[in-house]
């Protein structure tokens, strides 16, 4: 049976996030030839509608309200439930992002529905769709199905390839919703993550560990990351030592990332660190200890001093890029 599937679009720094395009691709599979409807929520989001269509949404619904400028679970919850009421979807896809993780359980609870979180792959289509998700911090995987009714999933960034962007046409309509009774007031957002590329969506991550030795020690890593259009990450060892902010921590108690290229410099490769990055497509390890555990998961390794290797690597990339 073909399904109607809603996708929640998300923006960051004034642009749609990649994970939204990935979510559209996931929704296409779940729909099994049915309809994919993009949903945009905010104070001014209608301009993004056309781009959702170009990435594969059949049409788009926008909900705009001054109270939706910042995300709150109450505000977005009311907006999204109004869309559900109008559309009666058979599937829903969110990104497994801060917003998606916070909002999806609320919506699932209101619909008394199952929810399959943090999906990294989809096998089959339509009613036969089976969802793959990591469990035990990536040490194992499970395949899960919805038993009945709604197929509701969140997709982990960087795992499901988006559809090609094409000039396409589709309706962008607005739904007016009265947003009331918000129980949370957002006071401020203090920016701690780096400008530009978001860690969870970065295609290249240059991560440093205790071996980086100081805050300044991260500078050559940042330079390499900038050159490659990537982001800097860190081990908990580096965060605990105060070389960098915890917002950079990768691992079981930090972020889980799956970039195309993960360069680990001065990181020993503790199991809790591996939990956050071992599913990266290609892993490079730079460590002066040839016995370091990180070499066991690395595709390519260089045994050496990171302060020598990283700047050379930057120079070498400059030559060929």
């Amino acid at each position: 049976m073909s399904k109607k599937v809603l996708v929640l679009g998300e923006t960051r720094e004034g642009a749609l996030r990649n994970v939204t395009f990935e979510a559209i691709a996931a929704a296409k599979k779940i729909s099994g030839g049915g309809e994919v409807v993009g949903v945009l929520i905010g104070d001014s989001v209608a301009d993004f509608g056309a781009e959702l269509v170009n990435y594969g949404a059949d049409r788009v619904i926008t909900v705009e309200h001054p109270h939706l400028k910042s995300y709150t679970s109450d505000g977005y919850g009311q907006a999204f439930m109004a869309v559900i009421e109008q559309e009666s979807p058979e599937g829903i896809v969110f990104g497994h992002t801060a917003v998606g993780k916070d909002l999806s359980p609320k919506i699932a609870s209101k619909l008394q529905s199952g929810l399959i979180s943090d999906v990294t792959n989809i096998e089959g289509e339509g009613d036969d769709a089976v969802f793959v998700r990591p469990i035990y911090s990536g040490k194992a995987f499970e395949k899960v199905k919805s038993k009945e009714g709604l197929s509701f999933i969140t997709v982990r960034p960087n795992n499901i390839p988006p559809l090609a962007k094409e000039e396409r046409s589709g309706d962008v309509s607005s739904l007016s919703v009265d947003i009331t009774n918000l129980r949370t007031i957002i006071k401020d957002v203090v920016r701690k993550s780096a400008e530009g590329v978001d860690l969870s969506e970065a295609k290249v991550i240059v991560a440093g560990g205790r071996g980086v030795k100081s805050t300044e020690g991260f500078e050559p890593l940042q330079e390499l990351a900038n050159l490659l259009g990537g982001a800097v990450g860190a081990s908990r060892g580096a965060c605990d030592a105060d070389y960098c902010d915890y917002s950079l921590q990768i691992g079981q108690t930090g972020k889980v990332v799956t970039p195309d290229l993960y360069i680990a410099a001065g990181i020993s490769g503790a199991i809790q660190h591996l939990a956050g990055m071992s599913n990266s497509k290609v892993i490079v390890a730079i460590n002066k200890d040839p016995e370091a555990n990180i070499f066991k998961v690395a595709d390519y390794g260089i045994v050496g001093d990171l302060f020598e290797v990283i700047p050379m690597l930057t120079e070498e990339f400059k030559k060929v890029m």
Binding site: S73, D118, K143, K187, V189, Q252
Partner: protein, 257 residues
């Protein structure tokens, strides 16, 4: 203040996983309190010490989960509740777990409920917000700071690395993120006292829950280990030759740059 903490018993982070018969083998494995739930317990104790009241820790699980509850009591929680589903339920999902927790909590007049933001085994991060929604109370996820003044809560939460400051009111459910606090270790006197603290054991019957009410909405059809990664290539030669070889490999063999 009437404070509840949702606690899950999980695999120790260092454990190797073995799958047989389609299930994760847990005989002989070490179990711990889910690390994020330790932050939740610590925060609950701190709030109680400042504002008075009582901290109750709740878990759904089998008989063995008593050990993690005793640890929470040794840290300083006042009471524990084990909802034992072992004999009643074969299959559970996040819907099931949340429904049972909410049925227990619905007439408890909780001012504050704390949970972990995610369990490191199941990894869905659903249970906290689902429980709050079922109870009709507000929730804030991945918090790194909590200040309570009367019924006002001032909170900092982590949103993908950025810090969002917000204000809301009790009753409230929050989920803990790393950075919230440093969980204490149980002291020896704490461990002695914990043995005498009340630990109530309930079954679904005691909560008037029928098995049909909590039937899972999703179904796990397979559990498997990721394919073993081939040992990688450690490059050789002088460092500058290794560096240019690496750049070549990343561009031409791995094709990621």
């Amino acid at each position: 203040m009437n404070i509840y903490v949702l606690v899950k018993r999980t695999f120790d982070t260092e454990e190797k996983l073995v799958i047989s018969g389609g299930k994760i083998q847990d005989d002989g494995a070490e179990f711990i309190i889910n690390p994020y739930d330790e932050y939740a317990i610590e925060e609950a104790i701190t709030v109680r010490d400042e504002h008075g009241g009582e901290v109750t820790v709740i878990t759904i699980g089998g008989e063995e989960a008593e050990k993690q509850l005793r640890t929470a009591l040794a840290m300083g929680a006042d009471k524990a509740v084990l909802i034992n589903t072992e004999d009643d339920l074969e299959e559970m999902d996040e819907f099931t777990t949340s429904y049972i927790l909410a049925e227990y909590l619905k007439d408890k007049d909780a001012d504050l409920i704390l949970a972990g933001n995610v369990a490191i085994d199941g990894g869905s991060g659903q249970v906290g917000p689902r429980v709050a929604d079922l109870l009709g109370i507000n929730y804030v996820t991945t918090i790194t700071s909590l200040k309570i003044d009367g019924t006002t809560a001032t909170i900092v939460r982590d949103i993908e690395g950025d810090a969002e400051e917000l204000e809301t009111s009790l009753p409230l459910l929050v989920t803990a993120q790393q950075g919230l606090n440093e969980p204490r270790y149980p002291s020896l006197p704490g461990i002695m006292k914990a043995k005498k603290k009340p630990l109530e054991e309930l079954e679904l019957d005691d909560l008037d829950i029928e098995e049909d009410d909590v039937e899972a909405k999703t179904e796990t059809i397979e559990i498997y280990l990721p394919p073993k990664k081939e040992a990688g290539r450690v490059l050789e030669g002088d460092i500058s030759a290794q560096v240019s070889e690496l750049v070549g490999l990343l561009r031409n063999e791995a094709k990621v740059i």
